[in-house]
């Protein structure tokens, strides 16, 4: 055809002039730079945090800071073990209580419930994620903790021979109440991810189990749960990451006592709570120690979330008979739905 080139020009008629190509280039490189800037920003923040934490690490050593059991602001002694242990105990409790309940709700909604209640239950559980953490703290300290205290004392008295659980005096703010409230707070995310992963179990597997004469529960046990194992583990780890980083509810509920709590119903401290509680008045080495605590917290959540992502991604490809990436996408969607 004649019109293949513009008279007097090298350019094909289908090509664009450099001027017309400009907005395209600008958009492409502009957005690339934007994405790159985010990387730079995060790395910059990280190094600034390390810089601020350096005096504390220099004085006590990284391991000494993290594992020494001595957090004494007046004596300028900062060993964060009571904080680390408090964080781990409360978030461990949250997993112990929260994950079985969350998985049970997911099983109920996907496998057992009548169709009509499916939507409402899902929405009600997701509403738990909409409650701000300061409101959980307020509710926990004025309602839940005082109501539970007599029961906690009863358990502590009866189990006085069990180390860590029995013996001591149950205070109103304590590890157990903190763990319980954290369990409620992580319930929506663990439940949402488990539910989305369970929805990807192939119908064939379930029908095969039922066809071989399995009862409903046996079908859930042999067909649904093993298929979803890594997805559920991933969801639980994401919940653990949340629980570790949770600040305000924990600060209100844990008692803020800078010591290694002797028992389950005693007061303690956590990494995030120490920052929220002390940073306002902190100076010099104390402030640096709190930045160091933030760094330990940051690295801890990074590790937990990294492991969680690996498990959730692996959930995408355990079997051969399913569309690839289903579970990972489902987990992403769940993440977004509960405001991750």
């Amino acid at each position: 055809v004649e019109a293949a080139s513009v008279p007097g020009g090298e350019r094909s008629i289908l090509g664009r002039s450099p001027l017309a190509r400009f907005p395209d280039r600008a958009l492409k490189y502009g957005l690339t730079i934007l994405a790159g800037l985010i990387l730079v920003l995060i790395v910059y923040f990280f190094f600034r945090l390390v810089g601020e934490a350096k005096p504390a690490f220099a004085k006590f050593g990284v391991l000494g800071f993290t594992f020494d059991n001595d957090w004494n602001v007046n004596a300028e002694q900062f060993g964060a073990l009571p904080l680390v242990v408090g964080t781990l105990i409360t978030s461990g409790l949250a997993l112990l209580i929260g994950v079985p309940v969350a998985v049970a709700t997911a099983v109920y909604v996907t496998e057992l419930s009548p169709r009509r209640v499916r939507g409402p239950i899902t929405i009600l559980i997701e509403l738990l994620a909409a409650v701000p953490s300061v409101v959980y703290g307020l509710w926990g300290i004025f309602f839940l903790a005082p109501k539970l205290q007599p029961a906690e004392q009863w358990v502590a008295d009866r189990l006085s021979f069990v180390p860590f659980i029995g013996g001591g005096i149950a205070t109103i703010p304590n590890y157990f109440v903190t763990g319980l409230v954290l369990a409620i707070m992580i319930l929506p995310i663990v439940s949402a991810i488990s539910r989305e992963v369970m929805a990807t179990v192939p119908l064939d597997h379930k029908e095969a189990a039922l066809g071989l004469g399995a009862t409903r529960w046996e079908m859930i046990r042999i067909a649904v749960l093993p298929y979803c194992r890594s997805g559920i583990v991933g969801g639980a780890m994401l919940g653990l990451g949340r629980a570790i980083g949770e600040t305000i509810a924990v600060t209100i509920l844990i008692g803020d006592a800078p010591q290694l709590g002797g028992h389950l119903f005693g007061q303690g401290y956590s990494l995030a709570a120490s920052i929220a509680n002390e940073f306002g008045e902190a100076q010099g080495l104390h402030r640096s120690a709190l930045f160091a605590a933030a760094l330990v917290l940051f690295v801890l959540t990074l590790l937990v979330n990294g492991v969680a992502r690996i498990f959730v991604l692996r959930a995408a490809k355990p079997g051969s008979s399913k569309p690839t990436g289903g579970a990972a996408q489902a987990a992403d969607a769940a993440d977004v739905a509960v405001g991750a």
Binding site: I38, V131, W217, G339, A340
Partner: protein, 298 residues
């Protein structure tokens, strides 16, 4: 072909044994019980918020600042006007910052980055941001804008901390929605001779808009409820302020400082403020869900 043909003995072989039946019933009962158990906290929280919060609601509760005297029973302790305005101002500024950046990065990931190593790296860092505890965001801003500049707390610094918190939520949700825009739509626009930027601006973004609004509203709802990033960035002035360069109050910080008070009236104000905050967040969630339902994509 009558019902008596299979002997009772034969029938028994197809029946589930009583032990298995019992186990099935117990397991299903436990699962149902756990589900009911999971719903109880929400009921209790809503009940307590309503019963304690509504009694402190009054017209003056919303029109006065929390500057009142707490020592004399007769005097009013003041309401939460400055906290409501502070939350709205800071969350609005945080959205203005994080939404364009978040959507921009999501567009880049879906339209340009795709599965390149650089895009994977960006995704990884966004995931890292998702997991960062909210108080650490506050410390980031504190280090850079308060230690770094030697100045004091300010509303816009709080807003920046909140925008860091919102950024990964906005980006991830926008990316999920943009991926759902059918490739055929893009291809037909390109085939008609539209340049790439026109395809993105006139085809991809409008198609994805309702879904992205949902994600943004959920991010806003989350930012509105956050206390920790504001503690050491915006501090808490008691008086109503429209100056984002000065100290600024917010609902979560107001609640947090009221919780620790020994005065009953102040604690009651915390309940009233908590009810206000939860109602605001639930409204945002509700709107987000309604828009999501009307979206063609999700």
């Amino acid at each position: 072909m009558n019902a008596q043909t299979p002997s009772s003995e034969k029938l028994a072989r197809f029946n589930v044994s009583p032990a298995r039946q019992r186990r099935d019933r117990i397991a299903r009962g436990t699962i149902l019980a756990a589900t009911v158990l999971a719903l109880i906290p929400l009921l209790l929280i809503v009940y307590y918020l309503l019963s304690k919060g509504l009694s402190s609601w009054s017209p003056s509760f919303f029109t006065t600042d929390p500057t009142g005297n707490t020592f004399f029973k007769s005097s009013s302790i003041g309401g939460i006007k400055s906290a409501i305005f502070g939350t709205i101002e800071m969350v609005a500024l945080a959205s203005v910052i994080s939404v364009p950046i978040g959507v921009g990065v999501a567009v880049w990931l879906v339209e340009y980055g795709k599965n390149s190593w650089f895009a994977q790296l960006v995704r990884f860092f966004i995931d890292v941001l998702t997991g960062v505890p909210s108080i650490v965001f506050g410390l980031f801003i504190y280090i850079v804008l308060i230690v770094g500049t030697g100045s004091s707390f300010a509303g816009y610094k709080g807003a920046l901390a909140l925008s860091l918190l919102m950024l990964p939520v906005v980006t991830r949700s926008a990316e999920v929605i943009l991926l759902l825009v059918p490739g055929a739509l893009r291809e037909s626009a390109l085939a008609l001779g539209a340049p790439r930027w026109r395809v993105i601006v006139s085809i991809v973004l409008p198609t994805a808009l309702p879904g992205m609004v949902t994600g943004v509203l959920l991010a806003v709802a989350r930012a509105a409820g956050e206390t920790a990033p504001l503690l050491f960035t915006a501090a808490a002035a008691k008086a109503t302020s429209f100056n984002l360069g000065g100290f600024m109050n917010s609902l979560p910080v107001q609640i947090y400082s009221d919780v620790t008070s020994p005065t009953t009236a102040v604690v009651n104000r915390a309940w009233g403020a908590a009810l206000t905050l939860v109602v605001m967040i639930l409204l945002l969630n509700l709107i987000a869900r309604l828009i999501a339902r009307r979206s063609r994509l999700a």
